[in-house]
Amino acid sequence: MAHLSQKRHVPLSILAWVIALAMAFPVLWTLVTSFKTEAVAVAIPPRFLDFDWTLENYRTVLRRSDYALHFWNSVIISVGSTLLAMLFCIPAAWSMAFVPGRHTKNILMWMLSTKMLPPVGVLVPIYLLFREWGLLDTRIGLIIVLGLMNLPIIVWMLYTYFKEIPGEILEAARTDGAGLTSEILFILAPLALPGIASTVLLNIILAWNEAFWTINLTASSAAPLTAFIASYSSPQGLFYAKLSAASIMAIAPIMILGWFCQKQLVRGLTFGAVK
């Protein structure tokens, strides 16, 4: 608001635009390259916008029967793991926010501390257990791991959102004789919905981009896009344009989600410490 009274600054605006474009340049460049032929893609000096634009690379990537499989794996794993975690987290966060006990703070801190466990520290046992249980390279295996991995963040995010719901509303409802079910259904649910939605979105983003477990626990049939794209790392030669098309399709959906979730991102990833 304070900005309204101030005059906009032209040199600083130019500087900011230059830096912002430079930071986004690798993504913009990938986008442009995805419309080139392979020969143009490796041309030196680089061709920026003056070339014959083609959709051929997208067609080629989509024709590869496996692309759709990996895309759906990403969708199913990121959405599935988030929903699985929500099943456990909504009741937990609800109870800690509205019926806090003596140990609530300790439980919250302990949950957060599990997030600090480096994944590589438990790589061996998880890998062996998954092999034993036949969960390697399955979607359900990744849904479980990613769900558990993000559970602390989800509880925390929901907790900070639920905390902001005024307690007086609940008390008023209780004195009016509302039962637990109607309390949740008619009073809390509408108030909690925006927070729940933001939490779901942020966690789909995190799960979509997770690249440690998805690479180490899948081989082919359950591999999401993170692992599929990693398989492009070996071939050399004329493949920049196809790589770009595959990359753009892998990052576009989540990037658009992300642009709308900037505020939630700050709040979720700092556990409510910065709002």
Binding site: L12, A16, A20, M23, M109, M116, V124, F212, Y240
Partner: protein
């Protein structure tokens, strides 16, 4: 305030989450600890025996361990310094009255949403490739010799890629914190004749202190576990040139199938992360009370 029945219901709702998380933490942790004292390689089935501290001894005295520790330190430290200083600068810039701030914000945050394998591949092929890369073209067009980034400065290359991913995060957090600064305070300082230097060090920086700490601690947790960027670009090489602790343990457990050694490494990684975690928990705990 809360009734007995609602307290009981609360416990009932809390326990599933606590139990699964407890299982997810305890079971693998105990197994890692157990395996770390075993001589156990998947390539030699049937041969598993108690090994005492042998795995730890081999893991820690391996020259690759020293290299990996140093690389981890450089990677975490380098990215932290670049993203925090860069983030403060960018947050200050974007907080000025500038044209098109909404589009600029979107451009700046964009790298953070790119999955690690994509950003590593794009940088590796289209930017750092010594023949076809943009950076090589830039170097030759100003008359310099192109650098073969991944072969000659592998660790710096990884630092560049990871910084590109985390600078947006630092900027976004610090900008958010900056925008909650009370403008009246700055105007009062203006009237008192405070210069920009004084305003920065006396008002803005103290206000950002908490956000900076949060950025440092959270980035550290994630940076200790950098994996895909190394796997895709350099495979930890040349030699151990860009092997960090996470990648070393991955190699020992999943490429050499040495369960015992990989687990010993895992325990070391957990201990290291705990040192960082203690600071983070203390900070967030303080915040929870406020």
């Amino acid at each position: 305030m809360s009734t007995k029945s609602s307290r009981a219901a609360g416990r009932l709702m809390l326990s599933p989450a606590v139990l699964v998380l407890l299982g997810w933490m305890i079971v693998p942790l105990v197994m890692t600890l157990y395996f770390s004292f075993q001589r156990y390689n998947l390539l030699m089935p049937g041969m598993q025996e108690f090994a005492g501290l042998m795995n730890y001894e081999f893991f820690v005295t391996d020259p690759a361990f020293t290299a990996a520790m140093l690389n981890t330190l450089i990677l975490v430290g380098g990215v932290l310094v670049l993203s925090v200083f860069g983030g403060i600068f960018l947050a200050l810039l974007l907080d000025q009255p500038i044209y098109g701030i909404n589009v600029i914000r979107i451009l700046v945050i964009t790298p953070f949403f790119v999955m690690p394998t994509v950003s590593a591949l794009v940088w590796k092929n289209m930017f750092m490739n010594p023949v076809n890369g943009i950076l090589a073209w830039l170097a030759t067009s100003v008359g310099l010799q192109p650098v073969d980034f991944l072969a000659h400065v592998p660790l710096l290359s990884v630092v560049i890629i990871v910084t590109w991913q985390w600078l947006p995060f630092a900027t976004l957090i610090l900008l958010t914190a900056l925008q909650s600064l009370d403008r009246d305070q700055l105007e009062a300082a203006d009237m008192d004749g405070a210069g920009p230097r004084a305003k920065f060090f006396e008002i803005i920086l103290p206000h950002l202190a908490r956000a900076i700490t949060v950025v440092i601690l959270i980035e550290t947790i994630f940076l200790l576990s950098v994996f895909a960027e190394i796997l895709v670009t350099t495979n930890g090489g040349p030699g151990t040139g860009s092997t960090n602790l996470t990648y070393l343990i991955y190699m020992q457990s999943l490429l050499q199938f040495d369960v015992g050694m990989g687990s010993a490494g895992g325990v070391v990684a957990i201990l290291l992360a705990n040192i960082v975690a203690i600071f983070l928990m203390r900070m967030i705990g303080r915040n929870l009370e406020a």
